[in-house]
C-alpha cells in the first residue's frame, strides 16, 4: 500500500524521477492556468449578458474576495491572488478525486510542506511590505525580548501544523477508502469517498482561511501598535 503518491514513480531517467505527485501537480496547474486563460482571453466589460464561463469565474473570485474581506477589511484585495491561488489549487486537486486513478497531490507531505512554506514566506512578506522591516521585526520583542523565542517557535509550529493537517486529512481519506475496499467493497468506499470530497473542500477552505488569518495578524499587529502610539 502506498502511503503517499510520492512513492509511485512513473518514469525515471538517471537522477530525474517523475513521481505521481509531480505529475498530478502539473496537471492541476495546467488545468487552472488553461481554464483561466481561456476564460479571461475575451473578458466582457459591458453590462449585457456575459458568457457562462465568465459568470462562473466571477462568482468564484467574488466569493473568495468576500471571505477575505470579512477577515481583514482593509486591503483584502492585496491577498486575494495569493490566498485565492492556494484555495483553488487545493480545492481542485482534492475535487479531482472523483476521476478514477487520481491521486490528490495534497496527499503527499512534500506538496503540503511546499504550500506551508509559501505561507511562511508570504506572512513576513506582507508584514514587512505594510509596516517596514524595523516595525515588523519589533513585534517579536513585544512585550519583552524574552518572548522572542516563543514567537519564533509558535510561527514555526503553526506552519508545520498547516502542512501536517492538510496531509493527514487527505492521506487518511485515501487510507480509509483503501482499508474499506479490503473489508467491505463496493458500497462503503463510495460513501467514504463522498465524505472525502467534503473534507477536501473544507480543508482547502481552512488552509486558505488560516493563511489569511496569519497574514492579517502580521499586518494588523503593526497597525494596532501605531494606532496606540498615536493615541498616547
Amino acid at each position: 500500500m502506498h502511503l503517499t503518491p510520492d512513492q509511485s514513480v512513473l518514469w525515471h531517467w538517471r537522477f530525474l524521477h517523475l513521481n505521481a505527485t509531480i505529475l498530478y501537480t502539473w496537471t492541476v496547474m495546467l488545468l487552472l492556468t488553461l481554464v483561466s486563460w481561456l476564460v479571461t482571453r475575451r473578458l466582457d466589460h459591458s453590462d449585457g449578458p456575459r458568457s457562462r464561463w465568465q459568470n462562473g469565474l466571477e462568482v468564484v473570485v467574488e466569493t473568495m474576495r468576500e471571505q477575505i474581506r470579512e477577515i481583514c477589511p482593509e486591503g483584502g484585495d492585496t491577498y486575494l491572488p495569493f490566498v485565492g491561488s492556494l484555495f483553488l489549487f487545493i480545492a481542485l486537486s482534492n475535487l479531482l478525486d472523483i476521476v478514477p486513478g487520481w491521486h490528490a497531490p495534497t496527499g503527499s507531505l512534500s506538496t503540503t510542506a511546499a504550500l506551508a512554506i509559501c505561507v511562511g514566506v508570504a506572512v513576513p512578506f506582507f508584514g514587512i511590505r505594510s509596516q517596514g522591516w524595523w516595525e515588523y521585526f519589533r513585534h517579536y520583542l513585544r512585550p519583552t525580548f524574552i518572548v522572542a523565542p516563543f514567537h519564533l517557535l509558535s510561527e514555526t509550529t503553526r506552519n508545520l501544523a498547516l502542512a501536517v493537517r492538510l496531509f493527514g486529512n487527505m492521506m487518511s481519506g485515501s487510507m480509509i477508502v483503501a482499508v474499506l475496499l479490503a473489508i467491505a467493497p463496493f458500497f462503503f468506499p463510495v460513501v467514504m469517498q463522498v465524505l472525502g470530497l467534503l473534507t477536501g473542500m473544507i480543508q482547502a477552505y481552512i488552509f486558505a482561511i488560516l493563511a489569511t488569518v496569519y497574514i492579517a495578524a502580521a499586518v494588523q499587529s503593526g497597525a494596532q501598535s501605531r494606532r496606540e502610539q498615536e493615541r498616547a
Binding site: L3, A161, R165, G168, N169, M171, I209, V213
Partner: protein, 90 residues
C-alpha cells in the same frame, strides 16, 4: 522473543494507544465547541455566518491534534523506522 517480534508488539500497541487516547481529547473539545457554537447561533441567529466561520477554523485546529496522532499511528504501522534498523542489523 526476538527483536522483530518485540518491535511489532510495541508499535502495534503504541499506535492503538496513541489513536485511542489521542482521539478522546479532540472529541471532547470538538463537542464542547460545537455545543457552544450552536447555543450562540440560537441566541444570535444574525451572527450565524461569523460564528460558523470561526467554528470551522477552531474545529480544524482541534482536529489537527487528532490528525497528528493518526499520522504517528500510521507511521508506526506502515512506515516504522525501526523495522529497517532491525532488518539491516540482522
Amino acid at each position: 522473543m526476538d527483536n522483530v517480534t518485540a518491535i511489532a508488539i510495541v508499535s502495534m500497541a503504541a499506535s492503538a494507544l496513541c489513536m485511542a487516547i489521542g482521539s478522546v481529547g479532540p472529541a471532547i473539545g470538538e463537542a464542547k465547541a460545537v455545543a457552544q457554537a450552536l447555543s450562540s447561533i440560537a441566541q444570535q441567529p444574525d451572527e450565524a455566518g461569523t460564528i460558523s466561520r470561526t467554528l470551522f477554523i477552531g474545529l480544524a485546529m482541534i482536529e489537527s491534534i487528532a490528525i497528528y496522532c493518526f499520522v504517528i499511528s500510521i507511521i508506526l504501522i506502515f512506515a516504522n523506522p525501526f523495522w529497517n534498523h532491525v532488518a539491516v542489523s540482522k
